[in-house]
């Protein structure tokens, strides 16, 4: 494990950059005097990553909106879903998918270690069934339609479609009602295995926490390399 201290003496602030033995990159920014803390766990996989490779096969194209769909579905679990788990700590949890990353996050002012454990755990334990995938198609279908009525979003993507004829940045992050209909539980597992490995991921924590606290949870919860 390698730890670097990044310090600004003028501002009196510092944060730590850690290369964890699991392959995970960690940033910890302790903020003295704060009550709340934040953590973001993200992977280098977004809407512009449009191909996956299965072992021994050629790369295959995945439907538009898969990264975002996967983000929604990771909250699910065989037992309690992530939102229910965070409800037992009081934290506010959320997630977002952008062009090049998918991130899961929470903010809290109590029980940071417990929340961090939930975050690391649910992102590392995918659970998809065909039934829950179909249920999500309804919810995301409405998310897509909501954005279709937001002029600023439409203008942005119209611009991208004019500027980029081939680059996948022109694809709507959530995909289309038609493209997400092609997503299956199996495909989600394939995408998960392609992109959600710790060498491809970052954990960033800030606020009322310490390096020791973060590492004690990470050491225990993250999967071994």
């Amino acid at each position: 494990m390698l730890m670097r201290k990044i310090k600004n003496s003028l501002l009196g602030d510092l944060y730590y950059e850690i290369d964890h033995k699991s392959g995970l990159k960690i940033f910890v920014y302790p903020k003295v005097g704060y009550e709340s803390s934040y953590a973001v766990f993200g992977t280098n996989y977004g809407s512009i990553d449009t191909f996956i490779k299965r072992q021994g096969e050629d790369a295959i194209k995945i439907p538009e909106g898969t990264a975002h769909f996967l983000e929604h579905k990771l909250f699910e679990s065989e037992e309690q879903d992530a939102f229910e788990r965070f409800a037992t700590t009081g934290a506010s949890a959320n997630a977002f998918t952008s062009f090049d990353k998918t991130c899961y996050l929470f903010s809290c002012s109590n029980k940071f270690a417990e929340n961090l454990e939930i975050l690391l755990d649910f992102v590392q334990h995918p659970y998809f069934t065909q039934e829950t995938v179909e249920k999500e198609q309804g919810i995301i279908g409405q998310e897509i339609k909501m954005y279709q009525d937001v002029p600023s979003w439409q203008v942005l993507f119209n611009l991208f479609r004019c500027l980029f004829h081939n680059h996948p940045v022109k694809i709507d992050i959530a995909g289309t009602v038609e493209s997400i209909a092609e997503i299956s539980a199996e495909l989600l597992y394939d995408c998960y295995n392609n992109f959600y490995n710790l060498d491809n991921m970052v954990l960033a924590c800030a606020g009322n926490t310490t390096v020791e606290e973060v590492l004690s949870v990470v050491d225990r919860i993250v999967k071994k390399r």
Binding site: L10, L11, G33, Y34, E35, S36, F83, E84, F86, A87, T88, T89, G90, A91, S92, A93, S107, C108, S109, N110, K135, E136, Q137, G138, I139, I140, G141, Q142, E143, K145, M146, Q148, D149, V150, P151, G207
Partner: protein, 430 residues
């Protein structure tokens, strides 16, 4: 931690709220003016925007921006809000904390000078705002109103409010109408400006490592020159329950239908903070978070929507539920929302619900004092309240809520207005 809130009542209707701390690198200063909602809000609504673009001391936006750059890139912004039957005009500044000034400048004090110059020495000529300045802000205001019409989520909410509060000024758009904005002239706006300074409830918020007394003195020096009279007494008309349900359905070229429901919360005008928090707990458990009834059922279980949430506006005694749903599912969603509310009123609230709410509120209150902007917003939110409440006090009230309180609060809710926006089946892209 939270006992560093300080409230000074320095003159009739003038309050200086401060939060003294060295926790932040950024300080925050705002001036907030509350006036009663009125029939024609346009000349008042444009003021925070017009004032923040030039003053006597800095007669153009370029000169004003240059000054802000000299203050280590301090920022200046305007805001407009509604709190009960009152319109809140705000001008806010963020600046680097004095302890980082390279040559020991008093940045906060300079920002206060600048902000007060903007408010008390406006860019006027012969008792009228300069026309060229006003015209720019009129155009921007029209664009702001048009922007709200284009954003169907806000549009649907505004339509519901207008319909629910027919004949009540609360239903008016806070920016005014496009027609009334276009009619504005320099004299009318100057008259409105004078009226605001003379009669508004004023709160100056100070967050940072500064001497708030010095800021208060500086402000008093300015406000003493104003002929303050008939200072407004904040009042809000609260209707406890709905007599019948009003329904309105509109058709527009939209891809997604919108459902907005307005409820009366069984409140009265004189409810204390403790009772308010009981109602707040009910609204939160009903639709205020990801563990709420609406999220769990309307979204997760029935997959009817991406968002379905309830928000309370306690000063006005109402709750608003908003959702974006497929046209043909609007009535299913509506029935499920009402069913969830009825279920709670019938006593189906668990100890677990209450526990989750308390954890949630503990977490939310804990974060309020971690950002200068949220501290400023917290203080601004109380401008028309007779007493000042700290986040800790609100937390205490929230933690005292019982299951019985929540059930009783759910029982008191009545549906007043349902607004639906549906697509007209033509291609919106066409």
């Amino acid at each position: 931690m939270q006992n560093i809130f300080k409230v000074l009542n320095v003159a009739e209707g003038v309050r200086i709220c401060s939060y003294n701390t060295t926790q932040f690198k950024t300080g925050r200063l705002s001036i907030n003016l509350a006036i009663p909602m009125c029939t024609n809000v346009a000349p008042f609504a444009i003021l925070p925007y017009l004032l923040a673009r030039s003053s006597k001391g800095y007669p153009s936006l370029m000169l004003l921006n240059k000054k802000l750059e000299e203050l280590y890139g301090a920022s200046l912004s305007s805001g407009l809000g509604k709190h009960g039957d009152n319109l809140i005009l705000s001008i806010k500044m963020s600046m680097v904390d004095d302890r980082f000034a390279l040559s020991g400048e008093n940045i906060f004090a300079e920002c206060a000078e600048l902000l007060f110059d903007i408010v008390f020495n406006p860019n006027i000529l012969d008792d009228a705002f300069i026309l060229s300045e006003l015209e720019v802000e009129k155009r921007l205001m029209v664009e702001r109103i048009e922007g709200e019409m284009s954003d169907k989520r806000i549009y649907a909410l505004n339509q519901m409010e207008e319909y629910m509060f027919e004949g009540d000024l609360y239903g008016n758009n806070i920016y005014g109408t496009i027609g009334s904005v276009l009619m504005l002239d320099g004299k009318t706006v100057y008259e409105a400006y004078k009226k605001v300074l003379e009669t508004a409830l004023i709160t100056v918020n100070v967050v940072g490592s500064v001497n708030s007394q010095a800021i208060a003195d500086l402000f008093l020096e300015k406000i003493e020159k104003i002929n303050r009279h008939s200072v407004m007494q904040p009042k809000t008309k609260v209707i406890s329950s709905a007599v019948s349900v009003k329904e309105k359905c509109e058709t527009l070229a939209v891809k997604q239908g919108k459902l907005v429901m307005g409820f009366r919360l069984g409140m009265t005008e004189k409810m204390d903070n403790k009772s308010r928090m009981k109602i707040n707990a009910m609204v939160n458990i009903f639709g205020g978070s990801t563990y709420s009834r609406l999220f769990m059922n309307v979204r997760e279980k029935l997959s009817l929507c991406y968002y379905c949430s309830a928000r309370a506006r306690l000063t006005k005694g109402i709750m608003i539920v908003q959702s974006g749903v497929e046209d043909e599912n609007i009535s299913v969603a509506k029935e499920e929302i009402l069913h969830q509310l009825k279920d709670m009123a019938n006593g189906n609230v668990t100890d677990e619900d209450i526990e989750k709410y308390k954890l949630f509120v503990k977490d939310t209150c804990g974060g309020i004092c971690d950002s200068p902007v949220s501290i400023d917003a917290w203080m601004r939110d109380q401008i028309v309240e007779p007493s000042f409440e700290t986040p800790n006090e609100r937390l205490e009230h929230s933690l005292a809520v019982t299951k019985e309180d929540v059930i009783a609060a759910a029982k008191a809710v009545t549906l007043d207005t349902v607004y639906m926006l549906k697509g007209d089946n033509t291609d919106a892209d066409a």
